[in-house]
């Protein structure tokens, strides 16, 4: 008997043709067929083969042969042949064992770095396992590698043997090492296979590594000698791809075309369509337009996703369609909400100092979307979250302890909070043993268990991803922490966070598998899952460089140069080329979608896959038709809205506001800056978008509070700053307030020290500034007559009375030869200054009956850049309305009034005034303020009421920091 080998062309439907052949040549009505093994490279191919077999044996009861994937076959051989069964550990445990096998002098880096290098060396070992060779030492490793990597390379042979000995002693095996283990078992126990294998059919294998080749050879030889059948089927035309030729050569096989009688479809050509597209959204939309709703056979539609992340937008778009789907692809754990949540817990632990957490880390956990979704209908959680948010907003602590938070909570809230704290914080604090890690993880999953049950009832992608993630934890993560021997004697055992770091490493690089079962509907597949499958309609997304072929992370230890030196084969993309070619030619209609954009070197740059170029070139060369469907952009008129139309209810809301509320300078200012912002804030009453909670509590706020408190103690008392600066009163006040502000909880020690110095210097500077004016007799007396002084006035407007209101930070009366009254607004920004030059424009402003966008812009410009003068003028107006409270009437003509900004942090000019004018101009200005400013205020009110629109500002600098930017952009576009 001799080995038979056949070619089945991809266009003839490999699996169906294979079924046709086997049905004619094997008997399926005896259980004896269960000892005939049909082996495929993938599990998905097994599934489809079984489907076609059942379909072809229509109307018959029958027994199945043993249909296994290569991986399943290896596991079966191992179990049947071994006399010393080892524990098959997940590959995730390999770095630990590798580190254990190294001598301690080779390890002095931090553990995370070493996990990285360990994983890279393990890839080197895996290459040698596949080749069935012992690694040699690399005497001259590349210079650019770290010292430790070089030292391991120089001693590679012994390192590998030590590692393998350790595995043997611990009776541990890794699934990726199963190949070599089975190879060794077969070499000594090959005769055993007679008892359970009657015949062997290898179907659809392409490239073989050396160890695989040797396993095939042993099986072939053993079975042939016993007169049992061994046959090979290659998916190829009679002019094979180089990769198939190489396999035939290595197995010493001579293949022939499968007789035509068995071919399901005679040789044919697919219809090929190319779709270059500008973005992922268009790509998905285009792809899905190719599918009509309905019920399909599993081989009607194949959707191939070389980039598994595309699954999320794809399913999102498919969600409301009446489709049935199988999804079979690998998916990275790093995109899963539960995984991200756990990693957030680790971040908090890494930032923890003693019992204190960085507030930002703490907040990210309790405000995590997963937790909020979990507690969506739980009022206790919402109220706790709000309370904690409020606390953080007020206190703005940099770090936070459990006790500090507990003090703000009611007993009931405290109980709920403590439960959360234990699961998310406390359990992760002292992970001195692997068992504690396991406990912390299991408690966490137990907490979220209702979420699993809840999602179980829902048939959605999230359910399956979550289940697969829990399965990943149970198989790949938990066992590592259950087996404490794995950790004993490990270097870094002194490292406090070792277990946490390793767990983080595992969760960052985990991969889950989705598997569609039972076979039904549209097949959504990873690229490798398509092997040997044929579809009537094939839609391949992301046919771009980087996806097809993929660009796996570079292993600096397995460069082409190193591989050559180590005697390892160098593969480029031959295998991917073969898989792509067979996929295209195995389908009836092929739709290849890819992104094509040329926005330079940014991430937006996308290039079609080299396979697209090759395929087009091949089709053109052979003069075969194909279609390129050019994306036609539906252009939407990009004209922006000029304004929002004012509705009757808006007008009513506005009227109600002005009649019932005190109108502040912000009310007017907001309208002048941007009427749409005004609409959001005052008409709709939308709270501004939540600003970052942990914005530093500025020193400016502290200085404001300091001067406010200090000046209050001197109200209506004459104060000499050259005396004040010499006594300790202000120092005591400074220290008291500094303590109250709790800056030590906000700043790191260096920032704290610097901030204190800056605050002291600012105060001292302002005192020195005033002292020098006193010394030069420019100021003879200082009298503080108002601190945080509220000023009101009433005006008549459309037969109602409106109240205008303002709060002036400081009102100071100074004797400077002439009596002067200063109204100061405290500003933390040292560069903030009034715009005296704009006053002239304001005085010239012509109040008209026009209430359009242009008139508003003209008025706005009269108050200087960023409306810097409006506030000062508004306060001056209010002061003048209330002047009798401050100035005796007969003295009024003899005094001068000024307004300005107080900016102690500006060391050169801590006081900046608006009015620097000659007496005549001053008199005219004062007259303007007393007679005309109110008319300007009324003009603004009229504009608000009489215009039919809320206009969008055209000043983009205003929009940059606007709190209403997102809703505004939505409305405008």
């Amino acid at each position: 008997m001799e080995v038979k080998a056949f070619f089945i062309p991809p266009s003839s439907h490999f699996l169906k043709s294979l079924v046709n052949y086997l049905i004619k040549n094997l008997s399926f009505n005896s259980p004896r067929i269960s000892q005939t093994f049909i082996i495929f490279p993938t599990k998905r191919a097994c599934f489809f083969f079984k489907y076609y077999l059942t379909e072809s044996l229509n109307n018959k009861n029958f027994f199945f042969p043993k249909i296994l994937s290569w991986e399943e076959f290896l596991q079966l051989l191992y179990l049947e042949l071994t006399q010393e069964p080892k524990l098959i550990f997940p590959d995730s445990a390999k770095p630990l064992l590798f580190l254990k096998s190294l001598s301690s002098e080779k390890i002095n880096e931090d553990p995370l770095k070493f996990f990285f290098w360990a994983s890279k060396f393990l890839e080197v070992f895996e290459e040698f396992e596949k080749e069935g060779k012992l690694p040699p030492n690399l005497l001259y490793p590349p210079e650019e590698l770290p010292e430790q990597a070089k030292s391991i390379f120089e001693d590679l042979s012994k390192t590998y043997q030590d590692f393998k000995s350790l595995l043997k002693n611990m009776e541990i095996l890794f699934s990726s090492f199963l190949l070599k283990e089975v190879h060794e078992l077969l070499q000594s126990n090959y005769k055993q296979i007679h008892s359970f294998i009657d015949g062997l059919y290898f179907c659809g294998f392409a490239a073989l590594r050396n160890t695989e080749k040797e396993i095939f050879q042993i099986l072939m030889k053993t079975l042939l000698e016993a007169g049992k059948a061994v046959e090979f089927f290659f998916e190829s035309t009679p002019s094979p791809h180089p990769i198939i030729l190489q396999t035939l050569k290595s197995l010493n096989l001579k293949a022939e075309a499968l007789p035509e009688e068995y071919l399901e479809i005679p040789f044919g050509e697919p219809e090929i369509y190319f779709y270059p597209l500008p973005d992922i959204e268009s790509e998905i939309e285009r792809g899905l337009n190719l599918i009509s709703e309905g019920s399909f056979r599993p081989d009607s539609f194949g959707i191939v996703l070389p980039q598994s992340l595309t699954l999320l937008p794809l399913i999102h778009r498919l969600e409301n369609n009446e489709f049935e789907v199988n999804i079979s692809l690998p998916f990275s754990t790093s995109f899963l909400p539960m995984n991200q949540f756990i990693l957030t817990l680790f971040k908090a632990q890494k930032g923890r100092r003693d019992k204190k957490y960085l507030t930002e880390d703490f907040f990210k956990i309790i405000d995590h979307p997963l937790l909020k979704a979990f507690h969506r209908d739980n009022p206790s959680f919402s109220s706790l979250l709000k309370k904690l948010k409020d606390f953080f907003e007020i206190k703005k602590y940099l770090e936070i302890s459990k006790e500090e938070l507990e003090n703000t909570l009611s007993p009931l809230e405290k109980e709920f909070f403590n439960k959360l704290y234990k699961i998310f914080f406390e359990n992760w604090e002292n992970l001195e043993t692997p068992e504690k890690v396991l406990w912390a993880l299991k408690e966490l999953l137990e907490y979220f268990r209702p979420l699993l049950y809840q999602t179980e009832e829902k048939d959605n992608l999230y359910t399956y991803l979550t289940r697969a993630y829990i399965a990943y934890l149970e198989k790949e993560v938990f066992p590592l922490f259950e087996y404490s021997t794995l950790w004993s004697g490990l270097p870094f055992s002194e490292e406090k966070n070792l277990y946490l770091l390793f767990l983080e490493y595992l969760l960052n690089f985990g991969e889950i598998s989705l598997f569609g079962e039972p076979l039904a509907g549209i097949q959504i597949l990873g690229f490798l899952e398509t092997r040997l499958l044929s579809f009537e309609n094939l839609i391949v997304f992301d046919v771009n460089e980087g996806s097809l072929p993929p660009s796996p992370p570079l292993n600096p230890l397995l460069t082409e140069e190193i591989k050559r030196y180590l005697g390892l084969p160098v593969y480029r993309n031959e295998l991917w080329d073969y898989y792509f070619e067979r996929l295209i030619f195995s389908s009836k209609r092929v739709h290849l979608l890819y992104l094509q954009s040329s926005k330079g070197k940014s991430e937006l740059f996308k290039e079609p896959s080299r396979f697209i170029q090759k395929l087009k070139w091949k089709l053109e060369k052979e003069k075969k038709p194909f279609k390129e469907i050019i994306f036609s952009q539906k252009f939407i008129n990009p004209k922006k809205l000029e304004a929002l139309e004012k509705k009757a209810e808006d007008q009513n809301a506005l009227l109600s506001y002005i009649e019932n509320k005190k109108l502040s300078r912000s009310f007017f200012e907001t309208y002048l800056i941007c009427p749409v912002r005004f609409y959001f804030q005052y008409i709709l009453g939308l709270k501004p978008y939540e600003e970052a909670l942990f914005e530093d509590r500025t020193i400016g706020n502290f200085l404001h509070k300091f001067f406010e408190t200090l000046f209050k103690t001197y109200i209506y008392k004459s104060v000499k700053f050259n005396e004040l600066s010499q006594n300790n009163v202000w120092i005591s006040l400074f220290e008291k307030l500094w303590k109250e502000f709790e800056f030590e909880k906000i700043f790191d020690p260096l920032s704290l020290w610097l901030s204190e110095k800056i605050a002291l210097a600012s105060i001292k500077n302002y005192f020195d500034y005033l002292s020098s004016l006193e010394d030069n007799a420019k100021i003879r007396e200082n009298l503080i007559i108002g601190v945080e002084k509220e000023l009101f006035t009433e005006i008549s407007f459309n037969s109602t009375t409106l109240t205008l209101w303002g709060r002036v930070d400081f009102i100071i009366k100074r004797e400077e030869g002439l009596t002067k009254y200063y109204l100061f607004d405290f500003k933390t920004n040292p560069r903030k200054a009034p715009a005296p030059k704009s006053i002239g424009n304001l005085m010239k402003f012509n109040i008209s009956e026009v209430y359009d966008k242009e008139s508003l812009e003209t008025l706005k410009d009269c108050f200087g850049k960023e409306l810097t003068n409006f506030q000062l003028l508004f306060y001056l107006y209010l002061f003048l309305k209330n002047k009798r409270d401050f100035v005796e009437e007969e003295a009024f003509s003899r005094v001068e009034i000024n307004v300005g900004y107080l900016t102690p942090s500006n060391l050169e000019k801590p006081e900046k005034y608006l009015l620097n004018m000659k007496p005549k101009e001053y008199t005219q200005f004062l007259k303007f303020m007393e007679e005309k400013f109110e008319k300007i205020v009324i003009y603004i009110l009229n504009h608000m009421l009489k215009t039919s629109f809320f206009y969008f500002t055209e000043d983009e600098s205003t929009c940059r920091f606007c709190n209403y930017r997102p809703p505004c952009q939505n409305l405008r576009s």
Partner: protein, 209 residues
């Protein structure tokens, strides 16, 4: 109707979908199938330990229960090997020509894949064996299904279905069918239906406790 997913649901320990009795069942299944297939009726301690360790080697997710499972499986088997039921089983297996385990059959009437535990064929007689921990774990409808399937393929054979329960060890003849002439007029099967690739097997050791 929104998008409908057909996805494999891996049994999760966290949701008690994969229980210790079920895993013990898998181990004992493997062990008994191999002993009977190899006609090893008086296995040594070493044989038993090896056949217990083998299926456990791939069940890393039950690592924490490994010792318990090893001990429990061995304890059950030692008891079985001393029993009269084992002696009876030995008689049924010692002279048979063909023994099959882990077989899969397609039963077109029900459009189902069936997996009986063990099947022996000898001189126009088919013996089907189902292994359960307790006698009451057996689902007779399942046995009926297996028998109907076998009768369709082997209409002229005598077919007997046995239950081998382990605790206490007992071998029971559940049903016996004499050979008959195959009937005409079979119902159609519906290929490609969703139920096709749900394999059916009697659940093992449901009431182990």
């Amino acid at each position: 109707m929104p998008l409908k997913f057909y996805q494999k649901k891996t049994a999760l320990k966290a949701l008690q979908e994969k229980t210790t009795p079920q895993i013990l069942g898998e181990i004992l299944h493997f062990l008994l199938e191999h002993l009977l297939f190899e006609k090893k009726f008086q296995p040594s301690d070493k044989d038993l330990e090896l056949l217990i360790k083998k299926p456990l080697s791939g069940l890393i997710e039950v690592f924490s229960e490994k010792s318990f499972l090893e001990e429990k499986a061995k304890e059950i088997m030692i008891n079985v090997l001393k029993s009269q039921a084992w002696e009876n089983l030995k008689k049924l297996f010692s002279s048979v020509e063909e023994i099959y385990y882990e077989i899969e059959g397609f039963y077109k009437e029900e459009n189902q894949i069936l997996r009986p535990d063990l099947l022996t064929i000898n001189d126009k007689t088919l013996n089907l064996f189902e292994i359960k921990l307790h006698k009451e774990d057996l689902r007779e409808d399942q046995i009926e299904l297996y028998l109907s399937f076998l009768r369709e393929i082997y209409p002229h054979y005598e077919i007997r279905a046995y239950l081998f329960s382990l605790d206490p060890p007992e071998l029971t003849l559940v049903k016996e069918i004499k050979g008959e002439i195959k009937k005409e007029g079979e119902s159609q099967i519906h290929h490609g239906s969703k139920s096709l690739f749900y394999s059916t097997q009697l659940s093992l050791f449901e009431k182990f406790g």
